[in-house]
Symmetry: D3
Subunit: 245 residues, 6 copies
Amino acid sequence: MRIDGRSNKELRPIKITTDFNKYAEGSVLIEFGDTKVICTASIEDRVPPFLKGQGKGWINAEYSMLPRATQTRNQREAAKGKLSGRTMEIQRLIGRSLRSVVNLKALGERTITLDCDVIQADGGTRTTSISGAFVATALAINKFFKGKELPQFPLTDYLASVSVGIVNDKALLDLNYREDSTAKVDMNVVMTGHGKFVELQGTGEDAPFSKEEFTELVDLAESGIQTIIQLQKDALGDISKKIGV
Amino acid sequence: MRIDGRSNKELRPIKITTDFNKYAEGSVLIEFGDTKVICTASIEDRVPPFLKGQGKGWINAEYSMLPRATQTRNQREAAKGKLSGRTMEIQRLIGRSLRSVVNLKALGERTITLDCDVIQADGGTRTTSISGAFVATALAINKFFKGKELPQFPLTDYLASVSVGIVNDKALLDLNYREDSTAKVDMNVVMTGHGKFVELQGTGEDAPFSKEEFTELVDLAESGIQTIIQLQKDALGDISKKIGV
Amino acid sequence: MRIDGRSNKELRPIKITTDFNKYAEGSVLIEFGDTKVICTASIEDRVPPFLKGQGKGWINAEYSMLPRATQTRNQREAAKGKLSGRTMEIQRLIGRSLRSVVNLKALGERTITLDCDVIQADGGTRTTSISGAFVATALAINKFFKGKELPQFPLTDYLASVSVGIVNDKALLDLNYREDSTAKVDMNVVMTGHGKFVELQGTGEDAPFSKEEFTELVDLAESGIQTIIQLQKDALGDISKKIGV
Amino acid sequence: MRIDGRSNKELRPIKITTDFNKYAEGSVLIEFGDTKVICTASIEDRVPPFLKGQGKGWINAEYSMLPRATQTRNQREAAKGKLSGRTMEIQRLIGRSLRSVVNLKALGERTITLDCDVIQADGGTRTTSISGAFVATALAINKFFKGKELPQFPLTDYLASVSVGIVNDKALLDLNYREDSTAKVDMNVVMTGHGKFVELQGTGEDAPFSKEEFTELVDLAESGIQTIIQLQKDALGDISKKIGV
Amino acid sequence: MRIDGRSNKELRPIKITTDFNKYAEGSVLIEFGDTKVICTASIEDRVPPFLKGQGKGWINAEYSMLPRATQTRNQREAAKGKLSGRTMEIQRLIGRSLRSVVNLKALGERTITLDCDVIQADGGTRTTSISGAFVATALAINKFFKGKELPQFPLTDYLASVSVGIVNDKALLDLNYREDSTAKVDMNVVMTGHGKFVELQGTGEDAPFSKEEFTELVDLAESGIQTIIQLQKDALGDISKKIGV
Amino acid sequence: MRIDGRSNKELRPIKITTDFNKYAEGSVLIEFGDTKVICTASIEDRVPPFLKGQGKGWINAEYSMLPRATQTRNQREAAKGKLSGRTMEIQRLIGRSLRSVVNLKALGERTITLDCDVIQADGGTRTTSISGAFVATALAINKFFKGKELPQFPLTDYLASVSVGIVNDKALLDLNYREDSTAKVDMNVVMTGHGKFVELQGTGEDAPFSKEEFTELVDLAESGIQTIIQLQKDALGDISKKIGV
């Protein structure tokens, strides 16, 4: 049994609170166990310079942790005056992932900015962020769609993400912080509702891994992601019927 | 009547949720109406260089708003690479205010860092931050005190803060954002449980104010602060008996 | 008697040298005892982006100390690559104060930038800066007014500032550095020629203060400011007749 | 046939020039077709703070492109004053990859810094950097080993990297820039001499990919990496016998 | 005899490899002994703001050293987040020097950016950069000239640079690093093909120098520069006939 | 005749006010016509890391212009967050120049920081700064010498600087701003009291110059520097007898 009592193939309790923020076009508080992330989706009528005049939109993400999201306090990046490599890597990953399920033409010349702010971190903050950002995006898009501002619902598929890893020679789903920090191999997987991969990032810094281990981990992630997508559907209610249509 | 139905001398509904964060020595989620701030107090066994070897501690504060705490999205200061003047002014104010009620000698060579992260902003974020930071500080100090790490309870008094202002020629208590943005005069007041002033900052950029107006505003703030301190006592329960003893 | 021989209610010797700088539209060297500040007012035909096309102007201030303005050398902010919180706080205060007595509509789409450079610091640099910046602003505006570039003289009132504080239980006017560094309470007051408050900032970090102490300090500041405004009038000569008309 | 005449499973011509730099402990110029990278390995007798006194070493990487390595000139990151997210992501990847085949204990309290400077870029600069950095590391370590400064040869395995991707529905090995910019899926694979994975990063921003496609790509990468490792062995000559022993 | 066997008036072996870079409009690898610099000239259809609409072009230079160009590794300026004073001084010098032999009117509203990247440094990197940048500029301009994009060949003269200095009381031509670091006086000279001075920078930090010493050094530099210009002509072949016509 | 009525070989009126600053170890206000610079010399008991434990001192310079030192306002470098290349070049030049006449061993492990703050600029700010910094240095050193803190007077010679240039084909001494901006050739010369050169920087960006022109300019500078050194001696009075002894 795992330190928090789960079986190897079990997700942590997941909770998605929609409309957590009063002002954002779309927002959720998403919790994977003790990992808690506020995801807001803000839609603005502008696109980055490289897209001007092309009739299509853009999706951008920013990620941050509150200084005391973790066991010991971290220095604020705003105080340091620059983003860490880790932060940049994560926000690029979130943006790329979300763009893969949005029809940017159907979005028109608009930018959706996804802000993922981790208020408590117990492992898997980037995968939790992606899973929450998807719901925030759907809520924001729905608000515009209902306002007749979009000709077509621009979300082409569901999207969720989870981490998997090998700890003490066992493949585990949805690592918490203590598991993550002792994992020999860890992998973040982003998949669509149709079971296709958007991102696969496996790293074996402490111990390279074999093709068999890799396959086992991917299968484990796939099963977890199906469950998460079901929870996203529950959270979105009727909106879920417009996605991928 | 005010836009949100309050009388001129009425505070917004205030809610203080203690131990909102799993890791911090002390933490609260404090809400003044739609203004919501997470305050965490982190205690570390170090002091800034200018205090080394003097046998006394320090209190420092950092303040930030999530990008979508406001009606339109603000750029992150971490992305801009520097803190705004407004942020610096606020975090200096929070730190100074809290230091006024902590016996830094009794704290020993420790630093308490107060992180005030505004997750939703509807006016009064700096005064809400101070009122919440006080409770987080009390919780953190109590944790150390119970662990026998402090010879004496180092909190010397209660501390709370509220904003007041003149809107349409009326003195109002606890301005929300729409009131604040049309106020001719606005003032932030920080007071102790014994009714003494720690900070008084009044500004009449749009219309200079008279001594009479000033006195009326200060009295209004005083009454509001007494109510807030009572709510802090309720939130702290038994701990409140150790303060100022 | 005070360390420099003054009575408690006495200002330091004040000297205002107008047109200290050959190029600026308005300039002074202002001295409060050993505190010496060069204030220049530069008028430019542009406004910040948020004011474009609104037919009104803006006033902005920047503040800096030469590295050896103080007893020990301070590192240059240009070398550190960022402004300190203290600097930002002060320049925001100067800008806000000056805007309160300028009719921005009458100024037209122009920006006045006030540069306050402290060449020697012996306490009260921010209040000295405000008092000097007012004279520099009046000189600059007069230059434009005489050139028929302004329909109306846009200065609506006089403006001056002074510090007051409680040192050894006595209320003192116009603190020098040694007094300032031992003051229990210190307050900066900005007032108009009509005796109204523009800014009131009192802080009792080391000892909270009562309403009575507060009132005494404000009265003391008021008397000092009246004297300073008289000296500003003397420095401005005939120009002073155009102010507030 | 591909635009440069290669078959789908064919690497570009690869050239490894050892000892390209006169001063570095180890260095190569590595060329994959028109992609040219100078890799230097610098060994210093210090470790980062988090490793002090633990008797083990560290490996760190930095990556940069000359401004005109590309078809149009890029702004220098030194001139912009910060590293891009892409640069940070790549240098973290190179460092992590190399650490996986170095016995950091056997290295002692030393840091190897790998500088990968792209002087011409035609796709695959990060994988080329990793493949070249391995050879530079081996040369640098050998220099110390021969100098009797290391008890044991600390390289535990070979390491190389290559990119693969799906372009026009075909799986291609070692993409050049034009292929890379039209790929629907692209993947970077880092493997050891024993055929284990160190990093697997697949991304399908434009089109999510299936498990079958993924498997085909990984197999293709594996075959390419075996060839690259053989070329590394040729370049290292006798040194290659000490690796992994 | 000098440490590398040269006579006092002898240059190091010089090698100019043209078209070293596949993409740049003009490029060379220039070597003065062990000092090796890649110089690329990029032509873009834009001018800096201060030149907009004046019908003339601009020349700008950037200079950088790879971290391990030197005997011990230097920190990257991109990682430090700012350029050193030395780098700024050198790139300003290169830009100024090249502008002196280009007819900016004949260039039209275009900017030539010269990137001088030192891949190995053994003294004289700034003078080597200037000598190489001239050839890269000529190649780039020729490419545009042949493309009928320029009415007239805008290079008005040849340009080269060399260092001279006094080491052990002897005047030496073209100092290498060891000579440079023990020189009492060192001077960088930039001259045209017609033997006129563009820049003369002599510094005697360790020992001020006399007018006689100065004259001897200048004469020595002049003879070296004539040789370098002959090598530039050889490298440019037929293009050399268009210069200064 | 020149625009300000001087002959070609005439300096502007020079005024050196010693002890201009109350706190600095040494200070002057130096004026060359309308160019006015405050130079302070601060002595601190520390040396930069690269000199620790070597028993010798260091001299460092910083240079800045007040924003309105010039005809139109310049942005503050502190606000921009970085020093310009011009500023860096100038402060490196001032430091290097002063170090050439100070016996750093005799100074002991101390650092003299020279702050040159231009309060009004009409050409020649760098040469005026050097000439003023010399006097400030002498005053600061004398203060320490009188306090018996130095075994020997560490100033080995006098030092002054002036600009010269060719304007309308005439060689002019001590250019003002209008002359400087139309000069074809300009040169800054730093010389010692014994007539030796410390720095010679000539630049002919707009028109390369011949050896004859160069020699004429150097001779002109030499005569001007002799006059300046005489004025420095007058300003220093008795202290001047200790220099170079």
